[in-house]
């Protein structure tokens, strides 16, 4: 009798274990596919100029993959030709940031950030302030998009093509923009000059106190010289060779100028000799990740969502 009871008991336990295991595995699996679907959708949206007033500007107009998702200009005008205010920052590893934009604006999520260029008014960038419904309408009129929203947001009730889901999907795509295959990461082609530069960067130069790896930013805010009107978040230095011009206003053309514009009194960055500067610049060049800027997963999708 006891034997049978034990048997039934064991059987019941293992049944429930198997059951709960499959349920958990299933939900994890469906979670993963949902995220993958959001990434796919977010990539289309990131490259879709219907996010702007006259269809002329997508996120990628300013954040171009070949420049590590910057645009090579000091600032970028918006749809109304309003002059931009800040230099376009890179989106490399942006999913690991806790605070967004150059200045302390208390923007702590990518979802929240994604609305800023769309509806921002000073300056006008994509020009959709109070016009979010128009974006939803344009996107919802495309059957391919509707299918993608259905699979990316299976649990959402009612209308799924909402600004909230649009920014969620874009944020999911942005979290995949990981850059960790630079020469410095892989040590392939890591020259003696780069190594000398690394020593200065982590030692005498004091650079790593603010530009702290792996992101090469401590995400804190500093005024690095007397011209600075506001404290700026330490920019990441990953792919820095691809993201000229430099500083928050894009006012500096070269890495040399960027380094020399750190005031020794405000930043503890010492005067560096010409040779030391060149070595540090060689080290900065080792932070370029060729794989990141050519990865087809991050590029304009080969075909539009149609």
């Amino acid at each position: 009798m006891i034997k049978i009871k034990t048997l039934i008991f064991t059987f019941a336990i293992s049944c429930s274990a198997v059951f709960s295991y499959t349920v958990i595995a299933k939900s994890e699996e469906s979670n993963q596919t949902t995220v993958a679907d959001q990434v796919k959708l977010g990539r289309y949206l990131f490259y879709d100029a219907d996010m702007s007033k006259d269809g002329s500007m997508s996120c990628a107009t300013c954040h171009r993959q070949k420049h590590a998702f910057t645009d090579g200009n000091p600032t970028h005008p918006g749809v109304n030709n309003d002059q931009g205010v800040y230099n376009v920052p890179t989106l490399a590893n942006i999913g690991q940031f806790q605070t967004f934009t150059w200045t302390e604006q208390h923007v702590h999520t990518l979802e929240k950030q994604a609305l800023m260029p769309v509806t921002g008014t000073v300056p006008v960038e994509m020009g959709m302030f109070k016009n979010e419904k128009e974006i939803e309408k344009r996107i919802a009129s495309n059957a391919c998009y509707v299918r993608l929203f259905n699979s990316a947001f299976p649990d959402a009730q009612g209308n799924k093509v909402t600004m909230e889901n649009i920014t969620k999907a874009i944020a999911s795509f942005e979290r995949t923009l990981i850059s960790d295959h630079s020469i410095w990461d892989t040590k392939q082609g890591y020259t003696p000059e780069m190594q000398q530069g690394e020593k200065i960067f982590f030692g005498k130069g004091q650079c790593a106190t603010c530009h702290t790896p792996p992101l090469f930013t401590d995400q804190k805010f500093y005024k690095v010289n007397k011209d600075a009107s506001k404290a700026m978040r330490t920019p990441t230095l990953r792919n820095i060779a691809l993201t000229a011009p430099y500083f928050h206003d894009g006012s500096l053309d070269t890495l040399k100028e960027a380094i020399e514009n750190h005031d020794p009194h405000l930043t503890k960055v010492p005067q560096l000799s010409e040779q030391e500067l060149n070595q540090v610049i060689a080290f900065l060049n080792s932070l370029t990740d060729k794989q990141f800027i050519s990865d087809p997963k991050f590029s304009l999708p080969a075909e539009p969502c149609e």
Binding site: A49, D50, D54, A60, K112, L115, M116, V122
Partner: protein
Amino acid sequence: MRSFNPKFLALCLTMGLASFAAQSYAQNKPEQCADHGKNKATHANHHQQPCTALPTEMSSWKAPIAISAAKTGAELSQSVVEINKAVQATLFPSKTVQFVVAPEERGGSVSFAGMIQFDVPTPGTYRVTTDSRPWVEMVKDGKAIDSIKHQHGAQCLGMEKILDFPLSAGRHTMEFTANGKETIKFIIVPVSSSK
């Protein structure tokens, strides 16, 4: 968890949205631009060229030749333009254009696109000036050519975008994409080495 109240959710959402809108407005606001009225003028002068007289080589800017851009590669032979002569081209809804080379910027469904061709007599740097902000894909022999310089045009002359391209002699195709308007005025001029 069962006592879920949709009204409460709606309230939360509205409050969230409202505070967000207010914040994102405030956040985007640079300190130096408190005065909205002046804002435009000072900004326009910031990085843009000062308003000078129209350069002589651009005199046709005021009286452009009207053409229709091409929608397909086959139509291109009907949309050949000359350098040094301003052109006003009508474009097509972006989705309806079949480009000869896939452009880097596709433009939204509400934007306009089209293609033209022109001949380069001698190799050198050529400047494309437009009255709007299209993406310009310069194509020769099926390959896109990157621009080497990008400037803002003098707004008082109705110029917005100025791009320089290094071109070799021969026929080129120019694709305009992601244009906010249905027409585009443009002119192609050679850049002398002094500029």
